[in-house]
Amino acid sequence: MIAAPEITERNYLTGKEGVLSWLLTTDHKRIGLLYVASITAFFFIGGLFALLMRLELLTPPSDLVSPETYNKLFSMHGIIMVWFFLIPSIPATLGNFVVPMMIGARDLAFPKLNLASWYLFNLGGIVTLYAILRGGVDTGWTFYTPLSTTYSTTYVIAAAAGIFISGFSSILTGLNFIATIHGMRCPGLTWFRLPLFIWGMYASSLIFVIATPVLAITLLMVAVERIFQVGIFDPALGGDPLLFQHMFWFYSHPAVYIMVLPAMAVVSELVSTFSRRPVFGYKAVAFSSLGIALVGFLVWGHHMFVSGQSIYSALAFSLLSYLVAIPSAIKVFNWTATFYKGSISWDTPMLYAIGFIGLFTIGGITGLFLAALGLDVHVTDTYFVVAHFHYIMVGGAVMAYLGGIHYWWPKISGRMYPEGLAKLAALTVFLGFNLTFFPQFILGYLGMPRRYAAYPPEFQVLHVLSTAGASILGVGYVLPLCYLIWAWRYAPKAPPNPWRATGLEWKTPSPPSVHNFDETPVVNYGAYDYEALKGELGLG
């Protein structure tokens, strides 16, 4: 490690004090931390629902909770985790914190809009929590019609309103990032000198801006049909239930890429830093992000292979789904190749990156099963699908989020974290995750449908394994929460660049000053150019 220069000037954490200085801040770093607080709360609320579900599923009958309650649990688990944790997780926290520093800027293009996004996000969250406290919602996170518009007697409109409001936070964050990345790069920082994290953020911002309005309109239509009995989706009123599915998945499939592109973006940073090599095939990895974002808009119908849509449109959606898998495959192979002849450190962020690559590969590969039309028929709407998307979203996105939090922790807090404990937590998460979700692939193959409060007894053994895994996973998630809170005050102080990484964010002090850089940096080298920076980084 490079010896830490004594930091005397006030940094972004100490610059202004008091609760109001946080609630009215326009500093992208502080807003990033505000988001960390919000999504951490939502993560543990959603996790609590998951825990209750796993406990219910220990035994075949629905004995711990009633089927009605179970239905609310999985609905609220999905809603909270997708919209109030996964979607904002990496962009709104790490993205907010890091993007301006990575491109040598003092802040995002629209700092006040950024703060407004956080308030909108929380307002949406509070409205959704209100729906939950009033009695919850039981439609599943997918709000399929006409169940949601006509038959459900729960708080559908309140829950949808919360998601609707928080959607504006997504749109504004996306706009902010796009404007910032276009207009605020420091001198010399051309597009192909950008860290791959920026490419990933840019690609996911595009999806934020293009897809989210479709979700907003769809939810609005659900509310209109529910309140005014206007026939849009319910055939009894003259509507078409498949129209809802098309509109919902037109948003929600790209939304999967909103969750995983930022995760890939983090992993590219981790893989380069901890193998001290440029990411193998930089341009291929950069363009694969854009490729995923664009082709990702054309594959929504693969959620509907047994829905009754035309078999010929199913054919097109299957083909396009295989095409969108190729850029993901490129990333996995290129990351693996980056390890070759590298200088691999086994620090905690790298463990998470390796875990991400492994679990994302399993998630991606099982996606190939689901994209194959004939194979999808049997396993769709079973636990196979549940396992598949948890491998992508939890094994992928959450692992990358945790890896990123550890990686940038010295920058965020100005302190290190306890490495031994962090390694233990990473290992616990990895093992607990696999024990939770791998049995679910088998359950799905055996025919266990998803969203079942009660199930035939022959599935019990696998469910017990899954619940056992979930309790280990829970410990793995509580551990970092505890030691990071401890580390915030008590861990050893961090130098500006503890990992000898190349990103501009590491040229700021730890924690950074309010305006990040005293002088605007000038870049005359490519991304991950360790050769050019070896003197500065003390390498060789």
Partner: protein
């Protein structure tokens, strides 16, 4: 087990082998490199490799070829599953919160159960009375969503007698996990015995005939072509000339299948037969349930000759070449011909 089980399993495990091999390879190299190239000193600077066009082309090209193979294999299996053969025996399914009602053309009705013979192709025509459900028989490897206001179909051929799970696979509300049942695949002679022992109320077509009178359809749909509405003999399976209506933009043709007949019962203004007055028939929406519609369709179907003898609708002509059978008699007030034989 069904005709799809073996080919599905083969495909699944080939995929698992190919994909498992690739995943194991990635894991192997990740761990190997992480161990082999573990950082030896803090300031180590490894060789800076930017990329390799040949390697990257390989791992774009090889997956692409594999993916296209998976796509083609999957599409083949899917089309086999999705296109029911013409000679399949028909069974009708109505899903509702939270039960499955199944109905055999001979009249047997079951709840949360379905008896079928092994060795025969079975086609299910399905609809829902409320929300979307999904008819899922894991051991048969078949699944199809069941939608309100629309018929979807599913087919299979059971290959081994036994008792198999039936699940609802599309979340449908409070008792979704209770919307389950059993499929009983029986030897054909046992199936025949089962059918006979239970048939009391008559076949679907004869129930449909009663409904035809009950709803006073016969008042307008005369069988001599002179009534105010089209003669329904020979309608089923024929190609109908459409002159206009609320769900079409102009003259077109439509095959008079289950969906068309159902739509005409519930929304007669949707597709108006060329040459007939619009708005004459009232809608039966809300007065008739899905099972009754299926019975009516079975009756109208019985008014037509076996598949192949398409007769232009609205012509009012008598059935040509269909041997009169005494099994089902048309509405007495209007009938001048015996109707076509009904064979499931």
């Amino acid at each position: 087990m069904s005709n799809f089980t073996a080919s599905y399993n083969l495909f699944f495990w080939i995929m698992a082998a190919v994909c498992g091999f690739v995943a194991a390879g990635i894991a192997f190299f990740l761990i190997l490199f992480a161990a082999r190239y573990h950082r030896r000193r803090e300031s180590e600077l490894p060789p800076q490799i930017q990329g390799n066009a040949i390697a990257e082309s390989l791992w774009i090209g090889i997956p692409f070829v594999l993916f296209m193979g998976m796509f083609a294999y999957g599409a083949k299996l899917y089309f086999d599953m999705r296109l029911p053969p013409a000679d399949a025996m028909e069974i009708y399914v109505v899903g509702k919160q939270w039960m499955w009602k199944t109905q055999h053309p001979e009249g047997e009705r079951e709840i949360n159960e379905l008896h079928i013979p092994v060795g025969r192709r079975v086609k299910l025509t399905m609809t829902s009375e409320d929300v979307i459900h999904s008819f899922f028989i894991p051991d048969f490897r078949v699944k199809q969503d069941v939608l309100p206001n629309r018929y979807t179909t599913l087919w299979f051929q059971a290959t081994k007698p036994g008792k198999y799970h039936l699940f609802c696979a599309e979340y449908c509300g409070a008792k979704h996990s209770g919307m389950i049942g059993w499929i009983y695949a029986m030897e054909p002679h046992e199936y025949q015995a089962w059918l006979e022992q239970g048939a009391a109320e008559g076949g679907m077509a004869s129930t449909g005939e009663k409904l035809f009178h009950q709803f006073q359809c016969a008042n307008c749909h005369h069988f001599d072509g002179r009534g105010p509405c089209p003669d329904l003999q020979g309608l089923y399976g024929s190609t109908v000339q459409i002159g206009g209506g609320t769900s079409v933009s102009g003259p077109t043709t439509v095959v008079a299948d289950e969906s068309y007949i159902r739509e005409k019962i519930l929304n007669p203004r949707a597709k108006v037969v060329q040459g007939w007055k619009e708005g004459y028939m009232p809608s039966f929406q809300g007065q008739i349930d899905e099972e009754q519609i299926l019975d009516l369709i079975a009756y109208i179907r019985a008014l037509s000759p076996a598949p192949g003898g398409a007769i232009a609708s609205g012509s009012g002509g008598a059935l040509q070449g269909a041997a009169p059978q005494p099994t089902i008699i048309g509405p007495e007030a209007t009938s001048i011909h015996n109707t076509a034989p009904y064979r499931p």
